[in-house]
């Protein structure tokens, strides 16, 4: 005698387990979790982000206040201490370095993330369009990218900042303008190999318009490459911004960034105020390290060659 109800539940269970197969994404997630360096880096990034978001609630001093007890004697009295609330010491003007570092972290991370976001959006759409449309359009679009890549962008960026005034939005715009070039090349290469696959052919046969094929069928399949490259792009954007701020051409006071803080610290280290260099440099280095490791980990996790 067969208990029909039991059989039904068994069948349901079996079909359910069959449905719960391992998707490529789950595979990738598993591989990523096994990569210790990448997981540690992810934790570091989370901590840096928490520092940027909630650091100000821990700070005793604001980033603009000057501690009049310290002014003029930063080398003697401005050292890091828990008693007077300057956890990271003060800068040369007696401003609290802890809250300045929090602010610098916010600005630098924002520049990195926005720069990478612009690169992802513009670069992906541009590259996917060029690759999918192909022919003369592709040739013209990619030749334009070649020409733009040959321009010494840091010099042009500084030129832009000087001509149109040094503001945060100009910095975002300037960094975003150049960051998508490399991305569009990578995306185009991927698109070329995707566009002759059967599912694209099927979509075309059923009469899906080109823009819809690009957005619905090509872009989602590029996600892995784009994610890896975007993660590796964030530290490069941070580096560019820090470079410009180090030269004193980036964000303006009272705003600050890692590059500006490193520059300040480097300028005053002759007077024995080493902490002014050490704290911003520490955050700068661990963040870049972490982004590079997470990017490498993502690449290893998503790389189909490795399977």
């Amino acid at each position: 005698m067969i208990d029909s109800q039991q059989m039904q539940s068994l069948a349901a269970r079996m079909s359910e387990t069959e449905v719960k197969g391992r998707s490529p994404w789950a595979d990738a997630r598993r591989r990523f979790r096994r990569n210790k360096a990448a997981m540690v880096s992810l934790c570091v990034l989370a901590l840096v982000a928490l520092f940027a978001i909630f650091g100000n609630t821990l700070a005793v001093w604001s980033n603009e206040e000057m501690d009049f007890n310290v002014i003029g004697q930063a080398a003697q009295l401005g050292a890091p201490s828990l008693e007077n609330g300057h956890y990271f010491g003060t800068d040369d003007l007696g401003r609290d370095l802890f809250s300045r570092t929090v602010q610098g972290t916010q600005v630098s991370l924002m520049v990195g993330l926005i720069g990478a976001a612009i690169a992802v959006i513009v670069g992906t759409l541009y590259g996917a369009t060029a690759g999918y449309v192909g022919g003369r359009t592709d040739a013209i679009m990619m030749r334009t990218v070649d020409i733009l890549l040959a321009i010494p962008y840091m010099f042009v960026l500084i030129l832009l900042l000087v001509v149109f005034g040094r503001s945060l939005s100009m910095l975002f715009l300037g960094i975003g303008l150049i960051s998508w070039l490399e991305m569009s090349r990578i995306v185009r290469g991927q698109t070329l190999s995707l566009k002759n696959r059967e599912f694209i052919e099927a979509a075309r046969a059923t009469g899906v318009p080109a823009w819809k094929i690009i957005l619905r069928h090509i872009v989602p399949n590029l996600l892995g490459v784009v994610a890896v490259y975007a993660t590796l792009l964030v530290p490069l954007m941070i580096l560019s911004e820090s470079f410009i701020s180090f030269l004193g051409l980036g964000v303006q006071e009272p705003l600050t960034s890692w590059g500006a803080l490193i520059s300040e610290g480097a300028g005053t280290m002759n007077y024995g105020t080493l902490w002014q260099l050490a704290f911003p440099l520490f955050f700068f280095c661990i963040t870049l390290f972490a982004f590079f490791f997470v990017g490498d980990g993502l690449r290893d996790a998503l790389d189909p060659k490795d399977r």
Partner: protein
């Protein structure tokens, strides 16, 4: 090959013209003229100044004059801030210095980076390999503007061995060269290592070993050349980043190269100097990427043009 050079030039020359016109338009669009000062000049003086520098001509005429000056006479025009100095003089004063330490840094980065990478690949998974890999990962987060203060801190303030800045004999070259070359050395070492590892596991190396060639000859004669291809294609972007890095070196070590003039002119809004240096760097970049492509074509027999 000749056709290839021609085709590359066909892209390079419009790029350069575009760069010149673009930077000129940028300058033109800038709010405030070069003679806008806190104390406004009398209109008659301003008109005379504008006439002297040709700023009252129509836009297209200014562009044509500017481009023609550069192309025909290699003349970038006068500086707007220092009336007695032309852009050419400012560049001529700084450029040899930039070229000296930049050239040395480039050679050092390539030589040390390649030998480090090759050694790491040959001795894969030994302590030497781990050191090289660790170094190259570490140097990724040590760009020139981080290296420069650290070097000064260690070698000038703590040890007192090297002068903290200035320009003179070879002793002044050491820190700029190290600061500029470290991150490239690391990248080149990493690229060399991974491509060397790939080449060493390929068939033609197995054949070379099987016919009894000494390991030295296998590496130097058969493995090194194909392993250099990714390194060569990295040299183009590396050159650009290095020239950009020279700005930091000039600022931090007071070496007096064109980077200093560039930042000074950026702070003074001396557009003529900024444009001159930007165009010069752009021309160098384009020239260098042409050389890199030729080198690539020469080394890789698979590429046919």
């Amino acid at each position: 090959m000749f056709g290839f050079i021609l085709r590359r030039l066909a892209v390079a020359i419009p790029t350069l013209l575009l760069l010149i016109v673009l930077s000129f338009l940028l300058m033109y669009a800038a709010p405030g003229g070069p003679f806008t000062q806190e104390r406004a000049l009398p209109p008659q003086v301003l008109a005379n100044l504008n006439a002297k520098y040709g700023l009252d001509d129509p836009l297209w005429r200014q562009i044509v004059n500017y481009v023609w000056g550069i192309v025909a006479h290699f003349d970038f025009g006068p500086s707007f801030i220092y009336p007695d100095r032309s852009v050419n003089q400012i560049i001529a004063a700084g450029f040899p210095i930039t070229l000296t330490y930049g050239g040395i840094a480039f050679v050092v980065a390539v030589a040390v980076g390649v030998s480090l990478g090759v050694t790491a690949a040959i001795r894969q998974n030994t302590w030497l390999d781990y050191c090289a890999v660790g170094l190259s990962i570490g140097a990724q987060v040590l760009p020139n503007f981080v290296m420069a203060p650290i070097l000064v801190l260690v070698f000038t303030l703590w040890l007192g061995w090297l002068p903290g800045g200035g320009w003179g004999g070879p002793i002044f070259w050491i820190m700029p060269v190290i600061a500029l070359s470290t991150s490239f050395m690391a990248s080149i070492a990493r690229i060399t290592r991974s491509s060397m590892l790939e080449v060493l596991s390929s068939n033609h190396i197995r054949t070379a070993r099987a016919k009894g060639l000494p390991e030295r000859a296998v590496i130097l004669r058969h493995a090194l050349k194909p392993a250099m291809l990714p390194v060569i294609s990295y040299l183009g972007p590396a050159f650009v980043t290095m020239i950009t890095g020279s700005v930091v070196v000039d600022m931090y070590f007071s070496t007096g190269g064109i980077g200093r003039s560039f930042v000074d002119s950026a702070l003074n809004r001396d557009y003529a100097v900024m444009m001159g240096i930007t165009i010069l760097v752009g021309a160098l970049t384009i020239l260098f990427s042409l050389v890199v492509d030729l080198l690539y074509a020469w080394i890789d027999p698979k590429i046919r043009y």
